[in-house]
């Protein structure tokens, strides 16, 4: 069972991610900012990190930087943002596996996660 770290400051969305991902057969751990996520990464091994970009304390891009410092490839980070200023290309250059623009449909999110996990590391 693939383990996904959800990093999102919007409580309602964290709940939804959790429900949907679990319903689709993923194991999840939820954090509300980057610092919490780093702590979680210290303890657990994840197959994927799905992180929001704009968050208090430590944002998604800083978190991505820290993760890539530890390991340049693992775990893959899928960034999600309500801001359309960021582009897929920019985020990939920063070390993310992909970028999704909110609002996201369930189908799109699940398909993207499967796609990432199916890809050879």
């Amino acid at each position: 069972m693939a383990k996904v770290l959800i990093v999102e400051d919007e409580v309602s969305l964290v709940e939804m991610y959790k429900t949907i991902l679990q319903k689709n057969g993923f194991e999840t751990i939820e954090c509300f900012n980057g610092r919490e996520a780093l702590r979680a990464l210290d303890i657990h091994a994840f197959d994927l990190v799905v992180s929001d970009i704009k968050m208090p304390i430590m944002d998604g891009i800083e978190l991505l930087g820290e993760i890539r410092k530890r390991d340049p490839k693992h775990p893959p980070v899928l960034l999600v943002s309500g801001y359309s200023e960021y582009s897929q290309q920019d985020m990939i250059e920063k070390g993310a596996i992909g970028f999704l623009q909110k609002p996201i449909r369930t189908k799109a999110l699940i398909e993207r996660i499967h796609e990432i996990l199916a890809a050879p590391a």
Partner: protein
């Protein structure tokens, strides 16, 4: 009689004065020369008497022939200006005197000794005194001079009048006429014409004619330059106005851009804040829909579909707001068959129109396929906005109709969207595309149905497709025309 302000008069006056001075000088010089001539003549007379008559007078004296002496002495009085002759014999034995007495101041006296030569010896016999009347010399000379001076003056006056006549006729007259024409000349009116000149002495073209011709040409050129100047001035004025308008527009644009930029930041933040709960809501609805579908609860599914539609609408609104404040994604531009795209858009709408009792027609006036480069999503958004506005404006009217047509005009395709709703008032027509302008009534009793960005976004979208959108001023209803380049 002579007026100083006329050139001819001045000239004549100068000529008369110069001539008079010259005449006086000539007369005085002649007077002086004649006087010395006359004096010489007197001297010559004295010498003549001395050499010609002194001998015979000596002989008569020697012979004591008084008669002979008297004859000779009287004979001397025939000489010119010799008015008195006095002869005194040696020892003053006899004194002879003939002629008129004249005052001493006007006389010139000459004494000649009368000698007799005998046996080689000179013997003085007497003294002859000749008295000349110089006053007579002067009187003669003055008479002569008056004649000379008079004739000179007469000549001067005659020449002056002839000169005056000639000058007046062939020089001053034409110059005066030229001057009066030049004085009458006004910029921008007719040119100075060359006057007909009747030449006094000759009929050839002279300097005055060429002067007149030059003035004519100059006035012609002056008028041309004047006209050019007026034209240039007008152009300059126009240019200045245009520049002022451009600067004003640039200032407005800049102000607008600043406002848009700050609104863009606000829109971005709002969009971000809403997007997260919106995602959650959408996912929740999808989850509930799945559950309802598995339970076969059609009512629930239907309600959730409606809810999903509303959330989709919110998503679209957010996308529109973001798109309005930011440049569109150029990659989404694609070449499409316009009639097909229109059909695709209105296919789903026709049932809805029927339900609402709206008469709908989509007409294609172009026989061949017409393609244009558009952003389909934005194009649909524009059509949705126009249809939505049409429906809202027709609510209060009995006659409900939406008529869409596709036409071709040169290299442009025109999509007209006409509705039979309330006609937009004249004073609002120029403002309908302005941001935050709305014709919809906002009051406490009525729901606020528009934020005033709908048509502004439409205009922005169409312009991003290199097209334009306008309100057809000739339409008796409300007709929007979307003009796109055929590609």
């Amino acid at each position: 009689m002579l007026r100083k302000d006329k050139l001819s008069h001045k000239l004549v006056l100068i000529i008369v004065i110069v001539n008079a001075i010259a005449s006086i000088l000539v007369t005085l010089t002649t007077l002086f020369l004649d006087y010395t001539d006359e004096l010489k003549r007197v001297q010559e007379t004295v010498h003549l008497i001395e050499y010609k008559n002194s001998e015979s007078l000596a002989l008569a004296t020697w012979n004591l022939d008084k008669e002979q002496i008297e004859i000779q002495l009287k004979g001397f009085l025939h000489y010119r200006y010799l008015s008195n002759v006095k002869y005194v014999t040696w020892g003053e034995d006899s004194v002879f005197q003939f002629g008129d007495k004249v005052k001493n101041t006007f006389v010139r006296e000459y004494s000649i000794p009368i000698n007799y030569y005998q046996a080689q010896a000179l013997q003085e016999l007497g003294k002859l005194t000749l008295i000349f009347d110089i006053r007579a010399v002067w009187i003669d000379l003055i008479k002569k001079m008056l004649l000379v001076f008079g004739s000179q003056i007469l000549k001067t006056i005659l020449v002056s009048f002839v000169l005056y006549f000639i000058l007046q006729r062939i020089l001053i007259g034409p110059i005066e006429r030229i001057a009066s024409r030049v004085k009458e000349f006004k910029l921008g009116k007719e040119e100075i014409e060359v006057p007909d000149r009747k030449h006094f002495l000759y009929k050839k073209t002279d300097e005055l004619d060429s002067l007149m011709l030059n003035i004519h040409e100059m006035s012609f050129e002056l008028n041309q330059k004047h006209r050019t100047l007026i034209q240039m001035n007008a152009e300059l004025d126009n240019l200045a106005h245009q520049r002022a308008a451009i600067i004003l527009k640039q200032q407005k644009d800049l102000e607008n851009e600043r406002r848009m930029a700050s609104l863009g930041r606000v829109a971005g933040r709002i969009s971000h804040e809403i997007n997260s709960p919106l995602t959650a809501a959408m996912m929740q609805v999808e989850l509930l829909k799945e559950e309802a579908e598995s339970e076969n609860d059609t009512n629930k599914v239907c309600a959730l579909n409606k809810l999903d539609g509303i959330l989709e609408n919110i998503k679209n609104i957010l996308l529109s707001i973001k798109a309005f404040y930011r440049d569109s994604n150029k990659e989404q531009i694609q070449r499409v068959n316009l009639y097909e795209v229109l059909n695709e858009f209105f296919k789903d709408k026709t049932d809805d129109f029927k339900k609402k009792g709206i008469d709908f027609k989509l007409q294609n006036y172009i026989t061949d396929d017409v393609f244009a480069k558009i952003n389909k999503a934005q194009f649909f958004h524009v059509l949705s906005e126009l249809v939505k506005n049409a429906q809202e404006s027709m609510v209060a009217y009995g006659e409900m109709g939406i008529y869409v047509s596709l036409k071709k005009d040169g290299f442009s395709a025109i999509i007209s969207v006409e509705n039979t709703g309330e006609r937009i008032p004249e004073d609002m027509r120029s403002k309908i595309f302005d941001p935050y302008f709305t014709t919809k009534k906002i009051n406490s009793d009525e729901e606020i149905r528009g934020g005033g960005l709908g048509l502004t976004i439409c205009k922005k979208f169409v312009e991003e497709m290199n097209g334009s959108i306008e309100l057809d001023p000739t339409s008796e209803h409300t007709t929007f025309k979307i003009i796109l380049h055929i590609a």
